[in-house]
């Protein structure tokens, strides 16, 4: 029944862009959540409640997407018909892959170190730095309509985001 033809940016009332004013996003999200929350419709008919759940779910997914630098980039490309999430990826720069393998080896060796936390922090900082650079590249390339280069940046971000998850998991295990 729900016909939401708007994309997340339009729905939330922000320009379609990689750069998102996070405080404006928070404000607008809050206004819309207050309007669309199913609690507002709890005393009305089932149809209103169902619609509210659908709209609110769309909104909350939109908020989560626009908040996350990776999801946002993937979403912008998907609006242009580029699917970055499927496994069948185009080749990624071999230099980058080499670097990834080295980073992973470093991660694997951390538990054996005498002071694992120092190395863990160093790795964390390094990976975050790389991610930041990739986000900046993406923003520029996307703006310049250099979509294939932008797509490659997103694929690299995906690799690094997975590494971030693994770093956090190792941290949990060490704290464990």
């Amino acid at each position: 029944m729900m016909d939401i033809t708007k994309n997340f940016f339009e729905f939330i009332g922000l320009p379609v862009s990689y750069t998102v004013d996070q405080s404006a996003l928070a404000d607008r999200s809050r206004e819309l959540q207050k309007t669309l929350h199913p609690d507002r419709y709890a005393h009305l008919s089932d149809r209103e409640q169902r619609m509210a759940v659908q709209y609110m779910s769309f909104l909350n997914e939109g908020i989560a997407t626009l908040r996350s630098p990776l999801l946002r980039a993937q979403y912008l490309l998907s609006l242009r018909g580029i699917d970055t999430e499927s496994e069948s990826s185009t080749a990624v720069d071999p230099m980058f892959l080499m670097q990834q393998m080295e980073l992973r080896e470093r991660l694997e060796e951390i538990p054996e170190l005498e002071d694992p936390y120092t190395e863990l922090d160093a790795l964390q900082v390094e990976v975050q730095g790389m991610l930041k650079a990739l986000r900046e590249q993406f923003a520029q390339n996307y703006q310049d309509e250099a979509l294939s280069v932008a797509t490659e940046s997103v694929r690299k971000m995906q690799f690094l985001e997975k590494l971030v998850v693994e770093i956090e998991r190792l941290e949990d295990r060490l704290d464990g």
Binding site: E31, P38, L44, S45, R47, M51, Y55, S57, F58, E61
Partner: protein, 625 residues
């Protein structure tokens, strides 16, 4: 306007009549029901004036059962048939029972689904049924006191309850024939009772020392949204332990043997009374009669404090851990709310005050505060306060994920995501010619599936044979506003799909619930057809009233004159049907009017979105109330 004449004399509700809605605190030791009456939220007592209903059910060979204080008197003499602390079993499987240790002394009957049934004299009872019996008692009490049928209830659950435990709670309500307006987190309810949702933004700590458990929750309040940052506590430490410490001391002083069951129960009861006296006085005198021998002993506040101090310190340590988990400092905490009868103990208040460096909120009776908060939300959700600006936005407490290769978890919806929410992810087959895919839904933060809670498994069948990696399976997780999950899987190239409302692996199936409900109708000797007709009429009324309200509010603005007139005549048609007694005709009429007004409903939704985006003026009005 003639349209408003839809109430049947003496039968159905008039539009905008005050709806009866309650808040229910379904507790481990005690349960309560509260409602907003004449603008004030109050707990409802039973005919003897007791507000607390002990969460105890005793099943008897004749098939009847007792609930509450009377049932509790049999806890020692008839332990197999007297079910206490059933909340600990909600949403739990057979494998979880071992971890409960000696907590659950009952005889269990293990069924195929792995759900534990408790063997009682009145037959096998699931924890959901036992909870439903407690809920029914509370609802009967409320309907008696309020003088009418309830529209619905807000039921509270601990913040750390996972999907299985929440679903089990909702199933219990369904079984008790209660419409659940919302499942609400207990600490959030306590904060609402104090009106904290209206006030400042910041960190709120809810310190809940119940009879048998201690819970500490750290919440963040941001623009009316309560987010659970962390929860902690000790499931084996409660107010009863304070009583026990005193009872042991008395036994030691008097040289009595505490091992004898009846003596220890007696001493516990006396100690509990002394604890309550000491909350207001500097000393308490305890008169005892043990084996015909009368004795008296006096305990001072200082003596009592010394006895319970190690226990109180343990709760403070749990508070420290919860703050650490939430990554906040004690001085960041803006408000502290006290819940649970034992927070009346002066030492508890003192230690909490010192630790958080601020006065805790104690104005509302700590036994009632959760139910009171729930009733305030129930009143809003029932539609009694159309101008209320109150909105509780909730987040999911634990991430929802899916099992991937090698027994690893892939998160689909991360913890602390606002709900309701839907999120889809694509997967593929890993073998050539694979025609089915098993989907295992899990909840938790850990990397290994075996460390997370298994919520459900289902299989998507009928995938056309393809090369490995060629199939595209889109798995969608949809979480509703109560935090309950539905999962849908679809193979995109062929369109084959499958979905389930996630039922905990050890919950009741929909069929089981329907059958139990049917049985209960039969027992109640209520004519099923009459009931069905009434429910259908209520459905029709809701649709009619909400459309009429909508037309008054913005019908002229959003509809052309022709559309307006057409809709009015459709409404008239349903009113006519609704006043008749043809169940099927009313059902069709509701469907027809829904369809006729779908476009209008969408326009209204879009219109409110536009208004929300245009500025904050509407909302600021709401908040200044």
């Amino acid at each position: 306007m003639a349209l408003l004449q839809i109430a049947e004399p003496g039968q159905s509700e008039a539009p905008h009549q005050h709806k009866l809605a309650v808040g229910i605190d379904l507790g481990t030791t005690n349960s309560l029901v509260a409602s907003v009456k004449s603008g004030e939220a109050v707990t409802i007592p039973d005919i003897d004036g007791q507000h607390l209903l002990p969460s105890v059910v005793r099943y008897m060979p004749c098939g009847n059962h007792l609930v509450g204080a009377e049932a509790r008197t049999y806890a020692a003499s008839d332990p197999d048939n007297t079910i206490i602390s059933v909340k600990r079993l909600m949403g739990r499987g057979v494998s979880d029972l071992k971890t409960l240790g000696d907590e659950a002394p009952y005889q269990f009957d293990i069924n195929d689904g792995g759900m534990p049934y408790i063997k009682t004299a009145a037959g096998n009872k699931s924890p959901v049924q036992v909870s439903a019996d407690i809920l029914k008692t509370l609802v009967a009490r409320a309907e008696e006191a309020l003088g009418g049928e309830l529209t619905g209830a807000v039921i509270t659950v601990p913040a750390y309850f996972d999907d299985a435990q929440r679903q089990a709670t909702k199933d219990a309500a369904t079984l008790a024939n209660i419409k659940v307006l919302r499942l609400l987190n207990e600490p959030t309810a306590a904060a609402v009772a104090y009106g904290l949702d209206q006030g400042k933004e910041g960190i709120i700590a809810v310190y809940d020392l119940g009879g048998g458990t201690f819970d500490i929750s750290i919440l963040r309040l941001n623009k009316g949204v309560f987010e659970v940052l962390s929860t902690g506590g000790d499931s084996a430490l409660g107010g009863d332990d304070l009583d026990l410490a005193l009872a042991e001391w008395i036994a030691q002083q008097l040289g009595v043997d505490i091992d004898g069951n009846s003596v220890s129960r007696y001493l516990m009861e006396k100690s509990k009374q002394a604890k309550e006296v000491l909350s207001g006085a500097d000393e308490a005198t305890i008169d005892l009669e043990i084996k015909g021998h009368k004795q008296s002993i006096t305990v001072s506040r200082a003596q009592f404090d010394e006895l319970v101090s190690p226990l109180v310190k343990r709760t403070i340590r749990a508070c420290r851990r919860a703050l650490k988990d939430a990554s906040v400092e004690a001085e960041d905490v803006l408000e502290v709310v006290m819940v649970g009868g034992s927070t009346r103990v002066p030492l508890v208040r003192e230690e909490v005050k010192q630790f958080f460096a601020r006065e805790p909120h104690i104005k509302i009776d700590p036994d009632c505060v959760v139910a009171v908060g729930a009733s305030i939300q129930a009143d809003v959700l029932a539609g009694n306060k159309p101008d209320s600006g109150m909105l509780l936005l909730d987040v999911i407490p634990l991430s929802l994920g899916i099992e991937t290769m090698g027994g690893l978890t892939e998160k689909i919806i991360h913890r602390n995501t606002s709900i309701p929410v839907a999120r889809a992810q694509e997967f593929t087959t890993y073998q050539d010619g694979q025609t089915a895919m098993a989907i295992h839904v899990v909840q938790g933060e850990r990397e290994l599936v075996s460390d997370c809670r298994s919520l459900a498994r289902f299989v998507l069948r009928g995938i056309p044979p393809m090369a490995a990696g060629a199939a595209k399976i889109r798995v969608t997780y949809q979480v509703d506003a109560d935090g309950l999950l539905g999962v849908h899987a679809k193979e995109l190239t062929s369109g084959v799909e499958s979905s389930i409302q996630v039922k905990p692996s050890y919950g009741l199936g929909d069929v089981e619930i329907a059958e139990m409900l049917k049985a209960s109708y039969l027992n109640a000797a209520e004519d099923k057809d009459v009931r069905a007709l009434r429910e259908q009429q209520v459905d029709a009324d809701r649709l009619i009233v909400s459309l009429q309200d909508a037309l008054v509010a913005d019908g002229k603005q959003l509809l052309s004159a022709d559309e307006y007139a057409a809709l009015e005549s459709e409404i008239e048609k349903l009113i006519e049907l609704r006043n008749g007694s043809d169940l099927i005709a009313i059902e069709r009429g509701v469907a027809a009017l829904s369809k006729a007004s779908d476009e209008y409903a969408s326009r209204r939704m879009d219109h409110s979105i536009q208004k929300a985006l245009q500025g904050h003026s509407i909302d600021e009005l709401g908040e200044s109330e």
